[in-house]
Symmetry: C2
Subunit: 448 residues, 2 copies
């Protein structure tokens, strides 16, 4: 009987546990989680803070009790793994005041990511909040509800989503981003400008290209200091990025990759025998370039967990093929999605690229409720191979446009392949020339 110990009860860990159990009913499967919730959805935190989701407990898919009862997985919550001995095959855990050892035959490290906290003066003040785990929601909500003015530091996914939530909570919102655009890791500047326009029109005070250098306050923060000025605030949401939580993996002797995340092969094996890593803690392979990247997102974590859990009990039965960098966010009713490489990113990687940015509609021109949609395509100039897409528009379908593009990119489509794709049409779902097909035609510069 194999004993599989999984550290981390989030997307990757829970998937690994469920998969191991499913493939090997006789295995002993132990899931260890530092917090109080498992199968939790940190991506839903902004909406739980804002009250769109009534309770942060709704962010759980399964309670620990359900997971134990229905899946026969031993779940240890409020349990921290403080050490690992690979030779003796044990992890050392701390629950409350007691410490114990848990033996494993296979270890899956799914410790996730943690917020990046820049080393600037005052960053340790009260009222400077980071977001990691859904069980922190009541604490964060308590802080933010009292505030009148909130600074969001960082214009990435969390920053954009929190800006909406805070405005809806009635706050004055100042957003600081050191790059001169929002969503710098996700979007090219031309597409980001559309998002920034919407944010400003809704009332976000956008400070782009403005790096925060200090926080001031006696005990609790009351000022954000940037290179350009000082701003009075009541609370700060610090969302400047995340980094992989590799402490346990390092203790296990696993090699880290050039991205700083745990190096894994396609079976989700680390360099240490019988030790797997999955989810945000692990590096991924980019399917366009073959390069190792670190793009920590929940759907990837789920699939990697599935692969790690299955392989832990059955040996190399599943392979994870990598990612193309599909990601989506929203600001009010403006949906923002991207996949593949950005234009600048592609150029930096040595591709000679061309791009188009078109404006179209999500329905036939004569139908009511057609929304404008902006589509940017990036392709390799010599071959027409599609490298990336960025889509912004006031309809949920924008997210699915990115999914369509993700599949074309995974499959090595050229602009011609996309143009001739059999995308559906009726007046209420698309124009007869689908926006993605129009974008392909425009970018073909007369060839299509």
């Amino acid at each position: 009987m194999v004993r599989v110990v999984i550290v981390g009860g989030g997307a990757a860990g829970a998937s690994a546990a469920a998969r191991a159990r499913r493939l090997d009913p006789s295995a002993e499967v132990v899931l260890i989680e530092r917090g109080s919730m498992i199968t939790h959805a940190p991506c839903g935190m902004p909406y739980a803070i804002g009250g769109i989701v009534k309770s942060h407990e709704e962010l759980m898919t399964y309670s620990p009790e359900e997971f134990e009862k229905e899946r026969n997985i031993k779940v240890l919550i409020r349990t921290a793994v403080v050490d690992v001995d690979v030779d003796k095959r044990v992890v050392v855990v701390k629950r409350g005041e007691s410490t114990e050892k848990i033996a494993w035959d296979k270890l899956v490290i799914a410790t996730g990511a943690k917020p990046l906290v820049p080393k600037i003066p005052g960053v340790e003040l009260k009222g400077i909040l980071t977001m990691r785990h859904p069980d922190e929601v009541p604490h964060l909500k308590g802080h933010l509800e009292k505030a009148k003015t909130v600074a969001v530091v960082g214009g990435g996914y969390i920053g954009v989503e929190m800006a909406e939530v805070l405005l809806e909570m009635g706050k004055r919102v100042l957003l600081f981003e050191m790059f001169d655009q929002v969503l710098p890791a996700a979007l090219d500047p031309d597409v980001a400008a559309i998002v920034a326009e919407e944010m400003k029109s809704r009332g976000v005070e956008l400070h782009l290209g403005e790096k925060v250098v200090e926080f001031k306050g006696s005990d609790h923060v009351n000022k954000v200091v940037t290179e350009k000025g000082e701003y009075q605030v009541d609370e700060v949401v610090l969302a400047v990025g995340v980094r992989p939580d590799v402490d346990l993996a390092v203790r296990a002797g696993a090699k880290l990759g050039e991205t700083g995340a745990v190096y894994v092969n396609e079976y989700m094996e680390t360099t240490v025998p019988d030790v797997y890593a999955a989810g945000d803690v692990a590096e991924k392979v980019h399917r366009i370039t073959g390069r190792r990247v670190w793009i920590p997102l929940a759907p990837t974590a789920n699939k990697e967990g599935q692969v790690a859990g299955g392989n832990a009990v059955k040996g190399r039965v599943l392979k994870f093929p990598g990612v193309v960098g599909t990601a989506v966010t929203k600001f009010y009713d403006l949906y923002i999605a991207r996949t593949g490489l950005g234009e600048k990113e592609a150029a930096q990687l040595g591709f000679k690229v061309q791009s188009s940015l078109i404006k179209a509609r999500t329905k036939a021109h004569y139908m009511p409720n057609a929304s404008p949609v902006h589509v940017k395509l990036i392709a390799e100039e010599s071959t027409g191979r599609i490298l990336g897409a960025q889509i912004v528009g006031k309809s949920q379908v924008v997210a699915a446009y990115a999914d369509i593009m993700a599949v074309t990119i995974q499959s090595g489509y050229t602009l011609s392949d996309l143009f001739f794709s059999d995308l559906g049409y009726m007046p209420d779902t698309a124009p007869v020339w689908h926006p993605l097909i129009v974008a392909a035609r425009v970018l073909s510069k007369g060839r299509l």
Copy 2:
């Protein structure tokens, strides 16, 4: 200077004309249309009849004048092509009472499809309406506005869409379909049952498995007679299907394929030199099976027109790769989409298939406004190759799910390829396990 004559001003013809003009500025391009509108959208007719679209003229993308002025294309409206002489390279046209000959070097036949009118007693009565061309909208609207009870004969796309429109116009609606399900050409019975349930709950009196055998009335129809009964009605919408309008192609000596539509190769060439066919009049190749099919839809017509027009002036510069049968319709807020082969269809073609039908949601479970979505996947049992998908749900994203599946099917994806596709996620756009990925996992029967 080449002279290109295009017969038919709909999707295929207008695209062919525009493309020929674009690729050869010196060509003489003549577009001949029987009706009064070009670049028209018959797919929008139900919504113009119902008043959601204010005027049927909005269904035009370009007026004949705009097309002439902005594109330098000679447009002849209200002009019927009554004959063709391939040896002399002329078409004979009738405008009002006058007949004239127009010479061509290249001829593109884009005569489209026309409604099928079954040879049953009474079918010639007044008040039995078919739908083909947007310029008939005022006539149809006039008839239907006065009616209290309307029979829709045929439960295909037009029948389903007209049922909604007629209910919204305040009519009592009886829908007759000879097969025992709605959308028999599009959906498998299990998915069609979901649509039928919605139609009934909105008030459509569905008569499935009930063939209409006669219409009664003295001058104007007042009764529909089926194998099972007689029904008092005021008007009838006859929507039992369409067939290719091949008259001109036959006169030109072009071979028809086994489907009854015009046989064309991937360059949209007919068997007659310098004569092309594009759009609903032409056969298509199915990309899954390589078989010739007749699936007349506007996006295909547009692309085929593009290929025919380009090749007419430049020789074989573009190839049309065929279709996978993506189609979409809606009934109120229930969107209905499909692509690939149906389960029965695949079995009839010799595939040993397996299928799954799952129910999921379009957003994370904790988000407001998540709609249920039903996903059916059909795959080849031995290889896991995906053959078809049918999706029904109360969100426009359903249509885009079919587009995602169309691309996977075109690309020969297996269930595993789909499962590992990098589809995006945030709580407001999808569950973290995307419905399509869940469907792939379920259908893999434990392999994923």
